[in-house]
Structures are given as structure tokens and as C-alpha cells.
Amino acid sequence: MLDKVIFFFFAGVAILSAGLMVTRRNAIHSAVFLITTLLATAGIFLQLRAEFIFIAQIILYVGGIMVLFVFVIMLVRLDVALHQIQFSRQKWVALLVTLALALEVGVMLWSSRKVPGQGFLLPNAVPAGKLPPNTEALAGRLFDAYLLPFEIASVLLLVAMVGAVVMAKKRT
């Protein structure tokens, strides 16, 4: 029951603010709604007992990436952009395509309901109390089986950082 309330609350907030994010004229408002979506998703992660991902989502996504976004939006004050057309010309085509995609995935999900044995819509999980401590388990896996990807990810971040600095630096 409690699980359900939490899930539907967060899911509702996430979808609602995601929709608002895409439609708001002002980029700052978009960012605020994206932050809300991300926080709601973090709530979903917590509900899934993925505590580390929850806090990583908050620290990295919300506290890091979104701050960067807001920062850039403030730097390029978009007063002019406010009065321009917000959507590109292909918007109707785009909507059509996404609707088609939605239909496809929806039908797929709906039909998978009937796949015997798999029970996509049924809970089939370890009870919450019996999960190993999340951070420890995650760390064990990350630094054991996935050590190489981890290192590669760090290199990727380094490259991205250097690239961003080079690009954003003023040319003189």
C-alpha cells in the first residue's frame, strides 16, 4: 500500500513536470521542471531500494549537471529567445512519430502481460528486508567485475572536462 502511494506520487510528479519541461517557453522554467522530474525519479530509485543510485542522482544529476545547466542559461540570458517561436517546423511530424513509437511500445508491454511464466506485471523480487546493504554491494560489483568500465568512464569524464574547458574558453 505504502509502496503504491509512493510510486504513484513520484511517477505522477515525474511525468507531469517532464511534460511541463518540454512545453515551457522559458528555459529556466524548463530547468526547474527537469529538476523536479529528476528528484521524483530519485524518489522512485529510493522506492526501489537503490539508495546509492538515489543519492548519486541527487548529487550528480541535480546538484551537478542541473546546476551547470542553470548556470549556462543564466549566462546566455535568453530574453530575446523568449519571444521567438519555441517549436521547430517539424513538430507535428515529430508528434506523430512519437505517438507511433508510444503505441508500439505500449502494445508490446501490454501483450507481454500474457507471456506465461515471465509475469512482467507480477512482482517477483527479493523482499526488501533481505537485500544486501546497497552501497556495499554496489561497490563490490563496481570495483570487481566492472573495474575496467569504471576506469574508462573516468577517462571519459576527464576528456569531457578538458574538451569543455577548451571550448568555453575565450579566444584571444
Binding site: L2, F52, V67, V70, M74
Partner: protein, 453 residues
């Protein structure tokens, strides 16, 4: 009984301790913040050869309440061109973040809202860092240059110093080996020593970075009065402004609590494992009683009858607290209360000392300039913190794998880190000298972007 009601009841039955604790935090923290402000003003006055607030209540003891009332009934101004909704929501974000992050802090072994959260310390840091959105959005929504510049500055500042603070915390966490708040304190009890003695450099970095994170002098650039009027708060007034203010002071409590938990032994009294030091357990009660006695002494000297009464009241409260602290020590059946009560006392005492340090620095030091601040963060603190993490890691390997003496290993790492610090400072001085010898040419655009850091 409907099933919904039943579910609600069940919920309350399971979680009532947490609910009550949460309500206590939300209710008490603003009051505490108000009194921290009063303490700050009193301390500042004392250091500046003044008296400070004296009018409301004896020695201004009721000043925070008067301030709160004033702020509540003040006209609420929203600038014409402000983005109303964002303007309205920003201070709330700031305050909420600070209060939420307190949920995971353990004020003593007994009082903690989110008890068994797996990522305890990270939760505190992560959620409190969300307060930055309050600042940024508030500055942006005010539609004023001063506000937006203050907001930009604080964004850059917070992001930079959070990195340093995080790295400093990693050193402590390496020693503790866990993120759970209670386990961290337990680890210090197990080690028999506060982590500040094992990783002094990390503690120092955390102190500096946390001052910057809470926007306190000498890093109070986002609200640098003399340059940006009040930074992101320039257009705020009345209760919204008060929310920002409360958020800031709540943040001070949070960083104080984090430092206390990780470096200063949490709720442990000094020398927690030394038997013959057990007389220290009597200290909390004696200390509170002494404060009460001083109040009694002052009560006779109050100019107004009401103030005398009030002073007596404060003294009485102190005595009651002293009694509460003392009784469990003396009465055997109540012994189980000792850790909780005394733990809370020590914890709060340590936080107060930490905040006192903040205030002391604020009254003493001039303010950094923005580029100097960024240089300090990026050229000194962050490299130093990285080196420190490495050094602490090496020391732990030396201890665990090669059986070195712990103190020897830690001493070695500290020396290495300090040497790095000296090197970095030298480097920085050289760079500054080079920069100043080529004094900024007036017309040429500088290559340096203050925000590029």
C-alpha cells in the same frame, strides 16, 4: 473503519518516532537559528567593544523573537519584473534543502530521523547541496544585476568548494569505512581517537570549504555587501528573506554536524575509552548548572523587574536541564538514558564550537576577492585534498597490509600533505607575483574568465 484510514493508522504506528523527530527538527531549527543570530551579534559586539542587542529582554535574549515578528509582518515586496513563481519558490527551496538534510543527522545516538539510511553522510551532503538552487533561482528571478551576479558567484563558489569539501570528507570516510552516520561514530570509538587527529589536513580543508559553502566571511562573496549590495538576496524582503537567512544558518548547523560526526567524534565525549576519565561524564550537568548559577548572579543586577524574573526563568531552565543530565548518572535504573542525553549534549557543544569558529573568523578577516577565492579553491584546496586522499589511502594500506603503526603512518601522510601544501602555496605566490608584475593592461581584454574555474 475504512481501509485507507487503517493504512494511515498503521503508517503512523510504524513511523511515529520518525514523524515526531521530523516535526521537532522543523519546529526547533528556526528558533535555534534565531538564537545563533543573537549569539553572533553578541559575540560580534563583544569583539568590537560594543554591547549588541540589549533592549528586548535581558541582554537582548528575546531579540530573535522580536526580529521574527518584525519580519513576519513586514510588507512583502516582489519586484515588478520578477519571475513571480520562481521568486516565490526559491527561498523555500533553500530552507527545505537545509532542513531535509538534517533528517539523516544523528544528534546524539538517540535522536535521528532517517535511522538506517544506507548512504547517511552522502545524503546529508547531497541534499544540503540542493540549497544552491534556492540561491540561483532567487537571484535569477529577481531580475536585477546585483542578484544575478550574486547568484552566479555563489554557483561557481559552491560547486568549486563542494569538490574540495567532498574530497576532504572522503579522507575521513576512508578511515571510517562506511557511510552510515552511526557507524562512523562507532568507528571513532573503536579507534579510540577522533579522526581529526588522524587526518588533520582533511579537517582543515573541510573547515575552509564549509565556510565557503555556507557563504560565510571571508568567503561571503555572493552576498558581499560592499560590492553586490546583498547578492542574490538584494530584492528579497520580509519573510522570504528570513527564509533565506534561516536556510543559511540551518546550513551552518548541517556543516557543523557533518564535521562533528566525521572528524570530532560525534556524540562521544573526549577520551571515550579511557576509564579514569569517566569523571568527564559529570561535566555536562556541571556546565549547565554553572550557566544557571551565572544567570542567578546576573538576575539581581537587572534594571527592570520583568527582566529579573526572566533571568530567574532562564536560570531555572538551566537547572532543570542540569538535573535531567545528572539524574540518570546517579540513579541506576535510569542509566540507559545516559548515552542519549549526554551524547546530544556533547554533539551540540561541538557544533557550537564549530559555529563559534565561523563567527570568529567572520569578525576578524577581510573578504576575499572573487578571483582570489577561485584560485584558493582550485589551485590550493582541491589539489591538496586529492593528495590528502591518496596519502590517507596509502597510510591505511601501510597499516593494514604491512602492519605499520597507525600513528606513524598517519604522521607520515600528514607530513607529505603539508609539504604539498607548502609547495602549492609557493606555486601560487609565484603565479600571483607573475600576474601582478604584468599588471592588468587597461585596454586589452583579459584572457582570464572569472567563472572559467
Amino acid at each position: 473503519m475504512s481501509p485507507t484510514l487503517q493504512a494511515v493508522l498503521a503508517f503512523v504506528q510504524t513511523w511515529w518516532v520518525e514523524l515526531v523527530s521530523g516535526v521537532v527538527i522543523v519546529a526547533v531549527v528556526p528558533l535555534v537559528a534565531g538564537y545563533i543570530v543573537l549569539m553572533e551579534r553578541k559575540l560580534m559586539a563583544d569583539m568590537q567593544a560594543r554591547l549588541g542587542p540589549m533592549r528586548v529582554g535581558p541582554h537582548g535574549l528575546l531579540q530573535p523573537i522580536a526580529d521574527a515578528v518584525k519580519l513576519l509582518i513586514k510588507e512583502d515586496i516582489i519586484p515588478d519584473n520578477a519571475d513571480k513563481v520562481v521568486f516565490w519558490i526559491a527561498p523555500v527551496v533553500s530552507m527545505t534543502a537545509a532542513l531535509t538534510s538534517m533528517g539523516a543527522i544523528a544528534f546524539g545516538p538517540a535522536f535521528q530521523v532517517a535511522r538506517d539510511i544506507n548512504v547517511g553522510l552522502l545524503f546529508v551532503i547531497g541534499v544540503s547541496s540542493l540549497g544552491i538552487f534556492g540561491i540561483v533561482l532567487g537571484g535569477w528571478a529577481s531580475n536585477s544585476h546585483y542578484s544575478i551576479m550574486g547568484a552566479l558567484r555563489s554557483t561557481a563558489q559552491l560547486v568549486s568548494y563542494e569538490t574540495a569539501a567532498g574530497l576532504a570528507l572522503v579522507s575521513g570516510l576512508l578511515l571510517a569505512g562506511t557511510l552510515k552516520i552511526r557507524a562512523i561514530v562507532d568507528a571513532q570509538q573503536h579507534f579510540g581517537v577522533w579522526f581529526v587527529f588522524l587526518a588533520p589536513v582533511a579537517f582543515f580543508i573541510y573547515v575552509v570549504a564549509s565556510i565557503a559553502e555556507t557563504n560565510r566571511a571571508p568567503f561571503d562573496l555572493p552576498e558581499a555587501e560592499s560590492e553586490l549590495v546583498a547578492g542574490y538576496m538584494t530584492e528579497y524582503s520580509g519573510f522570504r528573506w528570513a527564509l533565506y537567512f534561516l536556510g543559511e544558518y540551518a546550513n551552518m548547523i548541517v556543516v557543523g554536524a557533518v564535521a562533528t560526526t566525521l572528524f570530532l567524534g560525534g556524540w562521544l565525549r573526549p577520551f571515550p575509552n579511557v576509564r579514569w576519565m569517566n569523571w568527564l561524564d559529570a561535566l555536562p550537568a556541571l556546565f549547565t548548572a554553572a550557566v544557571g548559577a551565572y544567570c542567578v548572579y546576573r538576575a539581581g543586577k537587572q534594571p527592570v523587574r520583568v527582566q529579573t524574573w526572566f533571568m530567574w526563568g532562564v536560570a531555572l531552565a538551566c537547572f532543570v536541564v542540569a538535573l535531567i543530565l545528572a539524574v540518570p548518572l546517579l540513579v541506576a535504573p535510569l542509566k540507559f538514558l545516559v548515552p542519549g542525553l549526554h551524547g546530544a549534549f556533547w554533539f551540540l557543544l561541538k557544533i557550537s564550537a564549530y559555529i563559534y569558529l565561523f563567527m570568529w573568523l567572520r569578525f576578524t578577516l577581510p573578504r576575499y576577492r572573487f578571483d582570489q577565492l577561485m584560485h584558493l579553491g582550485w589551485y590550493i584546496l582541491i589539489p591538496l585534498a586529492i593528495v590528502n586522499v591518496l596519502a590517507v589511502g596509502v597510510a591505511m594500506i601501510l597499516e593494514m597490509e604491512y602492519g605499520w603503526n597507525r600513528w606513524l603512518a598517519m604522521l607520515l601522510t600528514t607530513v607529505i600533505t603539508l609539504a604539498t601544501a607548502l609547495f602549492l602555496l609557493r606555486l601560487n605566490d609565484k603565479r600571483a607575483a607573475a600576474a601582478s608584475s604584468a599588471a592588468p593592461p587597461p585596454e586589452e581584454p583579459s584572457t582570464e574568465d572569472s567563472y572559467a574555474g
